[in-house]
Amino acid sequence: MSKTIKQHTDWGVSYGEMVSREFFKNRLNVVSLVFIIFLFAIAVFAPFIANDKPLVIRIDGELTFPLLRNLNAVDYSVFLAAIVGLFQIWLIRRNKKRVNPTRRGEVLSRQIMINAFVLVAGIVFIFVSLDKRLDATNYKRMVESKKATGAVFPLVPFGFERTDLAVREQGPSAEHWLGTDDVGADVLCRLIHGSRISLSVGFVAVGISSVIGVFIGAILGYFGGKVDFIGMRFVEIMMAIPTFFLIITIVAFFPRSLLNIMIIIGVTKWTGDARFIRAEFFRLRGQDFVQAARALGLPLRSLLFRHMLPNGIAPVLVNATFGIAGAIFIEAALSFLGFGVAPPTPSWGQMLSLGVGTTGRFLWWLSLFPGLAIFLTVTAYNLVGEGLRDAIDPRLRKAA
């Protein structure tokens, strides 16, 4: 009887579990991670937190939900992605307990395939079926003029696109907690919506750069010799170019869009990852288990990406967290210089640049709050990266 219980609880501690245990021992790591999760929650639920449309309102005795009606395709896609992502994480945890390891790989790949399909199909469906409805109704005025009653506004009752020149460049007040910008938009609202830009730039750009870096690094490191010599010269040429100026130059040629910025950061930032993976693969190539895997007649694909990569991915993971921080920083800098996303789309760096004000007056709230947001986010990512690096470092872990 006890044996059956044992079988379901003691299926071995995987490498990931060991690392996560080590990671969560440090309180600062936990705080940083919680902050990042908090940011994600804000980014996902931004329209519910800061919006000039009320959640519920009674107009002429009829109950309507303007906020829900005004969610756009991007909002729905973000919700769908968040739900599918959380569901997948839950599934992985559940698999560990419920699914027999003999079938785990099979089950997992099927789940991922189904979820990815749901996500892609869902997003396509959302964009196709949702026509852009612009609801220009000023619900606040309706409430004031007693046309409507029973309105429940979100926590920050301003829209990020709603300008109000009557209140431009005002400091923090009871109504506008963090002040207003040059066109009278609420700073807090724009900060909340700006988190979406910052987080997505970080993730997508680093995703692109990691994939490119890992692939190139793996090939250079595994084959070595001439392939490595030529490849590394190419990497060095890429590294010799000052990335930021390259990005500015490229951005000047392409339309100002978020996707372009993501791609450009991604395709210029992979050199670090490539070098990490190359160095790891040099080390791993001579390891017994790689030799053993070759001696078993496994194909190159399996050797590189199944046997070597998981053992050498740690520096890339750590670098990715730093990379996310770096990408957020680059996006902020680009926006600050006016090369970033175009207004009215909110971005932290773009808001920062408004601190000088139209009249030359220093608007401290426009520098402090977006600056603080950038600083805290970048710091949190860097702390997580550092925590991850320490957790992965085998010297700190007891020899198993």
């Binding site: 044992k6 030799q291 001696a295 998981p310 053992n311 198993a400």
Partner: protein, 355 residues
Amino acid sequence: MAETILMNDNDVLLSIRDLSVTFHTDEGLVRAVNGVSYDVCAGKTLAVVGESGCGKSVTALSVLRLIPDPPGKIAGGEILFRGTDLVTADEKYMQSIRGNEIAMIFQEPMTSLNPVYTVGDQIVEAIEQHQDKKGPAAWSHAVEMLKQVGIADPEQRVMEYPHQMSGGMRQRVIIAMSLSCDPSLIIADEPTTALDVTIQAQILELLRDLQKKNNMSVVLITHDLGVVAENADDVVVMYASRIVETGDVAGIFDDPLHPYTQGLLRSLPRVGSVQERLEVIGGTVPDPLAFPDGCKFHPRCPIGSDEPRCMTVEPELREVKPGRCSACWYTPGYETKEEFELYETKYGKHKEISG
């Protein structure tokens, strides 16, 4: 019964012919293997003996074309496996041979398993690669293999990670993995060196049993003469990238021909005899970048250290009696009549050898 090594080709499974392997290092060209030839007969165990760095592992790795390239390169010779030359075979063919027809067991059980996967995952990958079994069928095959190599509670163990197992158990897993595709030849590169003595005996016995059961051939690479005596049918002795002596196991142990083999056997401790100190072969293995001229063993040789011919002319491997080969000028029956006369005219009388 005397098994000939180089002659008997009716049931030869693997035949290495005049193999040379070089390594291009920063310090220069290293000839790690130099004109090595041996045959492995079906169902037999061939032991390859020699000191560290004598080229025995490199020879074995060359069979599966696993030497790191660069810097290593097979410079010449052929490796015939069931009549196909593996030196020139394409990579795809090699992949179908590796693990499937020829499997390898490495020295270090602690590092030969991938730490991020369960042992089951790793065995199953090999099975799925070479056999038609997929998914649950492959997994039950893996459990069956673990049972065969004597792992208790295989259904449980198959789901464990390598770090949860002891060294002996991991070596059993590695053996299970190499045997999972039913290979006809196993190359065991010092399979027991990293294990303690009691486990060594168990692992070797296990290998012997499985060999008998599956009618496999084994190339056993070792520097432990005790292991050779117990397990091998035939023996190849290597020194400094060359074969110096071959023969059947009884012949090698009862009547070693080459001074190096004689030295190796003398330096074994003997149970029951009282000795102050163990005998040693003086000196060290020569630097592969600067092999001595002539016979590579002559600086350490009790006969050849001051022999002008040993210092200048390298003796080739010759059959000196049925089934026995040696590469030493002073092995009885080695010299041809002409060589004998040439020597006497050049250097004077031959040295007297005692024993």
